[in-house]
Symmetry: C2
Subunit: 436 residues, 2 copies
């Protein structure tokens, strides 16, 4: 019997993070970190897990979008899907009727991401490898087959992509060894949420340094005097040698971003993240020119590879922050990593949320071993929330992510957690007791 | 008793257009033109109608997104909403949790459009005016209050927007008279669907000219030899003096678009519409430079004002094709019209679909009377499908849209039509008989 994909289940899972203001920033004052959680099942009992991260209201819409993709997936032979994950991704993102709802953006694209990532999880579990290692061990030709070059050719051709991967082949074994030995550098956003008071900000900043982090991140973008005061406190807490990135979460216009960053300059910010609308490629380029040498970082809301292509073409960012489920999952992120390598821009994935750390570490590690070949100027974001809910949580030691060794992508939630946080009927929501 | 908004109803309405290949193009081979149809009800029995247009699968997701907005709307006093439609729009587009699903793009943004347009319909009916006239009679200050300048200031300030509107004040009465007398120029896409055979293409092209249209549009982007052959047939059918626009519906990459348009050049195409990804501002700019004097047109999938701002800043288009429900409805479209006027780019709205002609005519007419002050290089798309299903269908005579005089925005469907086309339980779908 041919093994088929027999179900695509999507569950609305929400964590009541707004009760503690974890995750609070200029645009997200009270998020409830949530996941439209996908379980893809096969006719022989196999399963793969993926998710789309949201911040609360609307997670039900995200679930509805995943369910709308299910008819395109159920009934496909597993062997064919795993033999051509690029073709599978395009089947979801280029459906002639569903693509009208994007195209390649927003709810439908994040739905594709969740399903695509569930396929990668299944694939890696089948191969008995973590996804980073599965990707590292694919041939350059198979990796390039993942990429949809239709809209990329003016910036990256198939031959150029192959060239990037082939040039990285020689040192792969050595870099794999280094990765397993030392892990991958991380920075932490844990201290910097806008809803935390000064004492908590200072205490957590000092703890971050003590824990081995060389970079922290602070949320800015609400009251400008508050930004200055908090930046000063953080700088005093960590000293001159630890980098402080700031993150405005899209709060500013272009001119305003420039003014605000000039005001913060005395405290030596390392990068400004999401200074303005994530759609504003030209705006980011103008900000970058004006605030140099402070870096410009963005990506968590950059919705597809065509947008990343333009950010790179326009010289609009110094740091590319790919996201696990904003673009169409592992498959499209391979294209984004290749684009970044072509333009020589470091990738520092966006993480936090629900399961983002667990997923993006695979992409950064694959990048180090098989694409850019470097961790120079590269770090994965780390936030110490919600990891305990996952079957294979990230392990961060001395400011580094340890390379995962368990098979899969890492997005699998513990069944009890799913049951308790299911919205609105789960125990956490129906009883209004604090999250576990 | 204060009048409140008491319900936001959303219904999945689909028309089985794929049975006749109406609407078939390079990216949409078999669309079922659909609407997530909104009825906003007030506590005193008032109602406003809006819709988000989709092409079939996923219309249920669009409905779910509108329902997710309802809690932000139900219970608001009608008087407050109509006094500040700009604030109302921002309430929908900037909800701190829902905006994660965009931001300002895709399903959630189209949902906002449908609800915002229902409010404009209610407002205009309350005032006893068609929306175009309601807008024309608002003061420049009130119009500018509609605009969210947060991300626009580097291209258009409030003062500049006021200046544009004030400069257009002197001739408004005369232009209103002209509009009522002659209507607004239209072009027709009816002949050019990809699924039509040669005879139908030629016959409909000749009919279009006989009906007074000075421009037709042809779908291209599938087989290049077919494109050439159909373009030649159309040119022969309409003669040298009728403009032929071509529309690739995003089928090409940047270099490919340039090559294909050079091949079509001998047949004198007027504009190329959607040559590549609608997100690719820089790609459109490159195409435009390469194929001059053929014009570049886009907009039906340009998802918000930040994207339009960049298309204008980068000199990436000659013709801006705003859409009634892709950006956040009438409110955001006022901003788009002001941006276009600032940059001196003509607006030729996208129409067709379900109710798009009915809605966008108001925006073009408002533009003529009160913003750009001109119809030079400006036409509204016209497609002769599905109008009979509306309470106040468009009237097109001798290649012109006649100015609507009935109060409202025009998106109100006949109740019988809604019942029959409701998906999947309506008569048209449950019995699989052809559409009315």
């Amino acid at each position: 019997m041919t093994e088929l994909i027999c179900a695509v289940e999507a569950v609305d899972v929400r964590f009541p993070t707004s009760r503690e203001l974890d995750g609070s920033d200029a645009m997200n004052p009270e998020p409830d970190y949530s996941a439209a959680y996908v379980t893809l099942r096969t006719s022989t009992g196999g399963a793969g897990h993926g998710l789309a991260f949201t911040v609360g209201r609307g997670n039900d819409v995200q679930v509805a979008a995943i369910k709308a993709l299910a008819p395109l997936v159920v009934g496909l032979p597993v062997r064919e899907v795993l033999a051509d994950p690029g073709g599978f991704s395009r089947r979801l993102t280029d459906d002639s009727q569903l693509r009208w709802l994007g195209p390649h953006k927003g709810v439908v694209h994040m739905a594709a991401a969740a399903v695509v990532n569930a396929v990668w999880d299944l694939y890696a579990k089948r191969e008995g490898k973590p996804v980073w290692r599965l990707l590292v061990e694919l041939s350059p030709e198979r990796l390039v087959d993942l990429v949809d070059f239709r809209y990329l050719q003016d910036a990256l051709t198939r031959d150029e992509a192959l060239g990037i991967l082939r040039r990285a082949e020689p040192g792969r074994a050595e870099r794999t060894r280094l990765l397993l030995e030392r892990g991958y550098p991380a920075y932490t956003t844990t201290p910097g949420w806008l809803g935390y008071d000064d004492d908590k900000l200072v205490r957590l900043s000092k703890e971050a340094v003590a824990d081995g982090f060389r970079q922290i991140k602070l949320k800015v973008g609400a009251d400008p005097d508050e930004d200055l005061r908090r930046m000063r406190l953080a700088r005093e807490a960590v000293g001159p040698d630890v980098r402080i990135a700031v993150d405005a979460n899209q709060a500013w216009g272009v001119g305003q971003a420039i003014d605000r960053m000039r005001a913060l300059a005395p405290f030596d910010p390392y990068w400004i993240e999401e200074p303005t609308s994530p759609d504003d490629v030209l705006g980011h380029a103008a900000i970058r020119r004006a605030i140099h040498p402070v870096k410009v970082a963005t990506g968590e809301h950059v919705h597809n590879q065509v947008m990343f292509k333009q950010f790179l073409q326009a010289g609009a960012l110094d740091v590319l922050q790919l996201d696990a489920s904003r673009t169409a999952g592992v498959t499209e992120n391979v294209a984004v990593l290749l684009l970044a390598a072509k333009f020589g821009v470091p990738v520092c994935p966006h993480a936090g949320g629900v399961g983002l750390c667990e997923m993006v570490q695979h992409l950064a590690m694959f990048d180090f071993v098989a694409v850019s070949g470097s961790t120079e100027g590269r770090e994965i974001e780390y936030i110490d929330h919600l990891h305990e809910h996952f079957a294979d949580p990230v392990r961060v030691r001395d400011g580094h992510y340890l390379a995962p060794t368990a098979p899969g992508l890492g997005a699998e939630l513990l069944p009890d957690i799913v049951a308790a946080h299911r919205y609105p009927q789960g125990r956490v929501w129906s009883s209004q007791e604090p999250a576990a």
